[in-house]
């Protein structure tokens, strides 16, 4: 299949959709926990800024400061790191609801990522390895002309949506303390594995994204260890 050329870039729409849908879920879940609406609003304001800055700054850092904050690309992994940083920072400001905020924002990370990746699929950035099997996709737009490629972005959308649903189940169960490590470990494993299906990974043993994933797995395991010690 050849992807049609879009007159308007779908990135802003998928980015916006990922924020709106995820933050609506966050709002509903936190209100259900009895957190005041104004505090949820402050946390959202901080997290929107942190996610956008994280998405841009990750690209600046990984380019070795060859790009700047204005002309750098948007990294979804950087956005996730920014969201985590924002949630942890807000946890220091409002200590009473620290756990609830961390759990709820972490829960929606795979959903945000899943929706944001639809934009990448439509535009062809972060495309997959050359492949001509079922669901292969070619691009003929300003960004990329080539293909057919493996639809790795679509795979990420499906995998991360499944991770979100699994973690939503954990959130609703009595093992709610395991939501944060479960999201971290599952997302890191998903992202780590799917990186091998990206064309830019060819010739590398481990990419920068995979090193970050290893960090997330270790962090998740340390959280499980902490939870077990407390229990």
């Amino acid at each position: 299949m050849t992807m049609p050329v879009f007159t308007i870039s779908p990135y802003p729409f998928t980015f916006l959709a990922s924020f709106v849908l995820s933050f609506l879920i966050v709002f509903a879940l936190l209100r259900h926990q009895g957190i005041p609406a104004n505090l949820i609003g402050y946390s959202m304001f901080l997290n929107i800024v942190m996610t956008l800055c994280g998405a841009k700054m990750y690209s600046v850092f990984t380019s070795g400061f060859k790009q700047n904050i204005l002309n750098s690309g948007i990294s979804s992994l950087g956005g996730v790191i920014g969201l985590f940083a924002g949630t942890i920072l807000f946890g220091y400001i409002y200590r009473e609801g620290r756990k609830e905020f961390l759990k709820t924002y972490t829960l929606v990370v795979p959903l945000m990522y899943s929706i944001a990746k639809i934009g990448c699929y439509l535009m062809g950035c972060c495309h997959g390895i050359p492949y001509d099997g079922p669901l292969c996709v070619s691009y003929q737009n300003d960004l990329i002309q080539g293909g057919p490629y493996f639809p790795v972005q679509l795979s990420e959308t499906v995998v991360f949506l499944l991770i979100f649903l699994i973690c939503l189940g954990i959130y609703r169960s009595k093992h709610t303390d395991y939501v944060v490590p479960a999201v971290m470990i599952l997302c890191a494993i998903g992202k780590f594995s799917l990186e091998y299906l990206r064309e830019e990974h060819i010739g590398k043993i481990l990419s920068a994204n995979q090193w970050v994933c290893i960090g997330f797995v270790l962090w998740g395991l340390s959280l499980i260890y902490q939870n077990k010690r407390k229990a």
């Binding site: 802003p12 402050y42 304001f45 800024v49 400061f65 904050i69 400001i93 409002y94």
Partner: protein, 138 residues
């Protein structure tokens, strides 16, 4: 001391506490503003000085320094917003904090509006360019 005599003292203490809190919140708000505004101003001054030294075009400035300065500006804005939120959570009655919050919200809304205008202008330019190319003979 009977109850009637104790009350004014207690009120006085509370009021002193409020004034103290308000002062602390105002200081935090000033720090927040400084975090958001000072780094871009310092960056602009550095660019002006360096471009004055090197000529009208500041392309001579090593881009890596510009990129690091841009990152510091962004970190400053984040620190400013975090500080404002701290004031709003800890001192909800502080007026400076409220004004600062609305200032940041208006600035964020302006940034979003400018981005939408930029997208629309880019779209119009693309459509005009495409129609121009289509109209070309041959």
């Amino acid at each position: 001391m009977d109850e009637q005599n104790r009350q004014p003292y207690t009120y006085g203490n509370e009021s002193e506490q409020n004034v103290c809190n308000d002062k602390h919140a105002n200081h935090l708000c000033i720090i927040s503003l400084a975090c958001s505004l000072l780094p871009p101003i310092i960056t602009a001054i550095i660019i002006t000085i360096v471009s004055a030294l090197t000529g009208p075009e500041y392309s001579d400035i090593p881009s890596i320094i510009m990129n690091i300065l841009g990152t510091i500006d962004t970190l400053g804005v984040i620190a400013g917003i975090a500080m404002m939120i701290y004031v709003r959570v800890k001192y909800p009655g502080n007026t400076f904090g409220k004004v600062l919050m609305w200032l940041y919200i208006i600035l964020a809304a302006l940034a979003v509006i400018l981005f939408i205008i930029y997208m629309l202008v880019a779209l119009v330019a693309c459509i005009s360019c495409l129609s121009c190319l289509n109209d070309m003979p041959g």
